[in-house]
């Protein structure tokens, strides 16, 4: 690593160029094309935020389909939604919120050089993540047993629409709900699995002592991703589990 002139990466208002007299100390985490760590950190965090923007639009297409069919087939959606175990969904929400807390605590531990706490929090995060997937698997299993998985063996006959005694939900419309339910929660679960992979790597890196109060960018951007997956769930929970529950 040859000494790089120190500079402000985004000199909009002024030009700051110092000569190599202030050459930075050798920093193994600094990639060759960045001038200094702050620039690298900012690039990584902006990159993750923009990636999350694409994720929002990715789920956005599904939310659009959901919105349109929910308005068109409200009763059928309510009937289908009521057949899902909302308590499990609520429990999963709580699990994810707890995992988000452990993520911020892990970052805080890294910032304040508490290595043991950081490792503990990372392990806890992954445990919460696995718990989420376990509860999700239970839900999927229930739906599978009830023949609520869209496809050849789908069946939703004679299910009453909440608040309309004697009126049965249209199975086709219920199938659209379950299709959206499985695609949305399935993609969410896929994101969780990817998140667990990322956190496995973070745990390994933390174990190796890669993260210091000066360098914990991977933890930070991994955390951003995890929180985003949490936010998606925060919306999925009321939209999929709590339609017309009051009847």
């Amino acid at each position: 690593m040859r000494p790089t002139p120190r500079r402000c990466p985004l000199a909009d208002s002024q030009i700051i160029v110092e000569t190599a007299s202030h050459a930075e100390a050798y920093n193994p985490a600094l990639l060759h094309h960045f001038a200094e760590p702050q620039q690298q950190r900012d690039a990584a965090s902006l990159g993750m935020w923009i990636f999350l923007a694409t994720e929002v639009m990715f789920f956005g297409g599904l939310f659009c389909a959901y919105l349109i069919y929910r308005l068109a087939y409200f009763g059928d959606f309510a009937a289908a939604s009521t057949s899902i175990n909302a308590a499990l969904g609520g429990a999963n929400t709580a699990v994810l919120i707890c995992s988000s807390l452990t993520v911020v605590l892990a970052i805080w531990a890294a910032q304040t050089s508490r290595r043991a706490l950081m490792l503990l929090m990372l392990v806890l995060t992954m445990l919460f993540g696995c718990a989420f997937l376990g509860i999700k698997a239970k839900e999927y299993h229930d739906k599978f047993v009830e023949h609520h998985v869209p496809g050849a063996s789908f069946s939703f006959e004679h299910e009453e629409i909440p608040g309309h005694p004697g009126q049965y939900a249209n199975p086709h419309h219920a199938e659209i709900f379950f299709a959206l339910y499985f695609i949305m929660t399935g993609l969410h679960a896929l994101h969780m699995i990817v998140g667990l992979g990322v956190f496995t790597w973070l745990l390994w890196a933390a174990w190796k002592g890669r993260f210091t109060p000066d360098y914990y960018t991977p933890l930070e951007i991994g955390g951003l991703y995890w929180h985003f997956v949490d936010i998606v769930w925060i919306y999925l929970f009321p939209l999929l589990y709590l339609i017309d529950r009051h009847r």
């Binding site: 160029v17 001038a35 923007a53 994720e55 599904l62 659009c64 199938e175 695609i183």
Partner: protein, 549 residues
């Protein structure tokens, strides 16, 4: 600003720094990745072009005599998919953008070099899937994948094509992400937003569309694939779904996708016109901001592809009105380019000829867009050859002209060699003539009522004469596209070595060697001047002679 004389001994540059196949396939150098992209998209361009040629040959006679109906349907489908997703969308951003964005802002590389390489691999995986799909039977849904035809009725490889485009979409997203972060975070000291070349502004706007639009088509294709595999009913009217929902989601991306193709081209044209008129671009701020405006407004107009599809009349009115709003910034750009020529000192080297061609063809393409945005006329010309002609004027006359212009302009920088100027001017002329001969008759065909995607028009023999013109033009156009490929390849071996700044152009990319060193600049540049400071350059070197003399 010194133009270094051609060096007797070859300096170390990004091309000769490493040798061997590994040094290319595992490279993280944005310039090498740009070349990888150049080779891959050229390959797909000629595949798509081959399909186009067969389409035009089939339409030479009214009867369907060259190929079978199903084959023809596959030809236009795969022509569209290959050209849109595997050539036009990656063309300028992934080749010229990849090569130039870091250099123009004075960075050593893109912000995420490994993600850049990943994006090329995703493109190659998607491309390989598309190629496999083509070779094992192809797909016949039209590039638009309209449901329920694609999900229930077509018996071709819809799932494979959908997944290929899905994968290629992520390549496009990652390129856009990389550009945005790079432009925000990697600018050299002094490179303020108001000093950015317009090429950068255009790529910034393009990237916005790539990151916000592409995910929507990705999820839409997931839904199509799931629907086709499992018959979920989301787009199937028999099961309560709405096929128009697919069209909404599809065009939410695919309309802005047109701006992914045209905006970078506009960026190229701004650079070229400024250089060959030796002037700062007229109304820099307006040209820069119009790129962003086009990108944003481009997202508000998608349902003008659906005016006769059965959407609500009131929604059609809203979308029509919004469609005009995107025409305003486009017009502003054309006016500003024209005004830039005023009191310039204009040379007519090949890149400038392409730029002139771009402005002319884009003007026609844009103005015929008005016909399609206006509801009353759109009802008649929708899904006819008028639409085909219109979007080819934008995508081929616009985007491709810009791409070729840019390739000529920066070829000395990319390869370190000069291309033969005389041949280049000839090729530009052939492309311009061939293009107009191919597509202008299609406007007339469309207004006369010839529907698109017809393989047999033997009941309407009156359409033949215009189709013959069109096919003749396509042949000329084909020659026009082959020529640059031949002389570019020729110049790599036999061309004269290029000086660092053959055009005497402004911009950081011209201040480093040709071809540039691996990390672009020997010394980190510090920018103390405004963009397009041609007055200062020309004052320093009053009588530089351009390449073509």
């Amino acid at each position: 600003m010194a133009t270094a004389p051609a060096q007797p001994v070859e300096r170390e540059n990004y091309l000769n720094a490493h040798y061997g196949i590994r040094s290319w396939l595992l490279t993280t150098d944005h310039k090498r990745i740009a070349l990888l992209y150049l080779i891959s998209i050229t390959f797909f361009f000629f595949i798509g072009g081959f399909f186009a040629l067969l389409i035009r040959l089939e339409l030479l006679t009214p009867a369907g005599d060259l190929v079978q109906a199903d084959t023809y349907n596959k030809l236009f489908t795969m022509h569209g998919q290959v050209m849109v997703f595997f050539f036009l969308i990656p063309s300028i951003p992934a080749v010229l953008g990849n090569f130039l964005v870091p250099m123009m802002i004075g960075a050593k590389d893109l912000a995420f070099p490994r993600i850049n390489l990943l994006s090329w691999y995703l493109y190659i995986i998607g491309g390989a899937m598309m190629l496999h799909c083509i070779l094992t039977g192809g797909v016949d849904t039209g590039w638009t994948f309209y449901t329920p035809f694609s999900t229930e009725f077509s018996n071709t490889k819809v799932i494979e094509a959908g997944l290929a485009i899905f994968v290629a979409g992520f390549s496009s997203i990652l390129t856009g992400l990389n550009f945005i972060v790079t432009i925000h975070r990697m600018r050299a000291p002094g490179m303020t937003w108001s000093r950015l070349p317009l090429f950068i502004w255009a790529h910034y706007a393009t990237s916005l569309i790539q990151i916000l639009g592409t995910p929507v088509i990705a999820i839409t294709l997931v839904l199509v694939v799931a629907e086709r595999a499992l018959h979920l009913g989301i787009f199937d009217p028999k099961l309560g779904g709405d096929p128009l929902l697919f069209q909404h989601l599809f065009w939410f991306y695919s309309h802005p996708a047109v701006y992914i193709m045209i905006l970078p081209s506009m960026g190229v044209v701004s650079e070229v016109i400024a250089c060959f008129a030796r002037k700062r671009i007229f109304g820099y701020t307006f040209v820069a901001l119009s790129s962003i405006t086009i990108a944003v407004f481009g997202f508000l107009v998608w349902a003008h592809h659906m005016f006769v599809a059965g959407i609500s009349v009131y929604a059609a009115l809203v979308f029509s009105l919004l469609s005009y709003s995107v025409a305003v910034p486009s017009a502003v750009k054309v006016f500003n380019w024209t005004a830039t020529l005023y009191k310039g000192s204009i040379r007519y080297d090949a890149p400038m000829l392409y730029a002139f061609g771009f402005v002319g063809l884009f003007t026609i393409g844009g103005l015929t867009g008005l016909f399609l945005a206006s509801l009353g006329v759109d009802v008649h010309v929708h899904d006819t050859y008028f639409v085909i002609a219109h979007f080819h004027y934008i995508m081929v006359g616009g985007a491709l002209m810009g791409y070729l212009g840019g390739m000529h302009f920066w070829w000395p920088k990319i390869s370190g060699k000069l291309y033969p100027e005389g041949w280049a001017r000839l090729a530009a002329l052939i492309v311009f003539v061939g293009f107009n001969l191919t597509f202008f008759p299609q406007f007339i065909l469309g207004y006369l009522g010839m529907p698109r995607r017809y393989y047999d028009y033997s009941h309407m023999p009156e359409f033949q004469i215009l189709n013959v013109f069109s096919t003749a033009g396509a042949t000329i156009l084909g020659v026009g596209y082959l020529l640059p490929m031949i002389y570019f390849l020729w110049s790599m071996r036999y061309g004269k070595p290029a000086p660092d700044n053959p055009w005497n152009a402004a911009g950081l990319e011209w201040q480093t060697a040709s071809p540039p060193p691996t990390f672009n600049f020997d010394e980190e540049p510090v920018v103390t001047w405004e963009a397009y400071n041609y007055d200062e350059i020309d004052a320093a070197h009053p009588e530089e002679v351009s390449v073509g003399g």
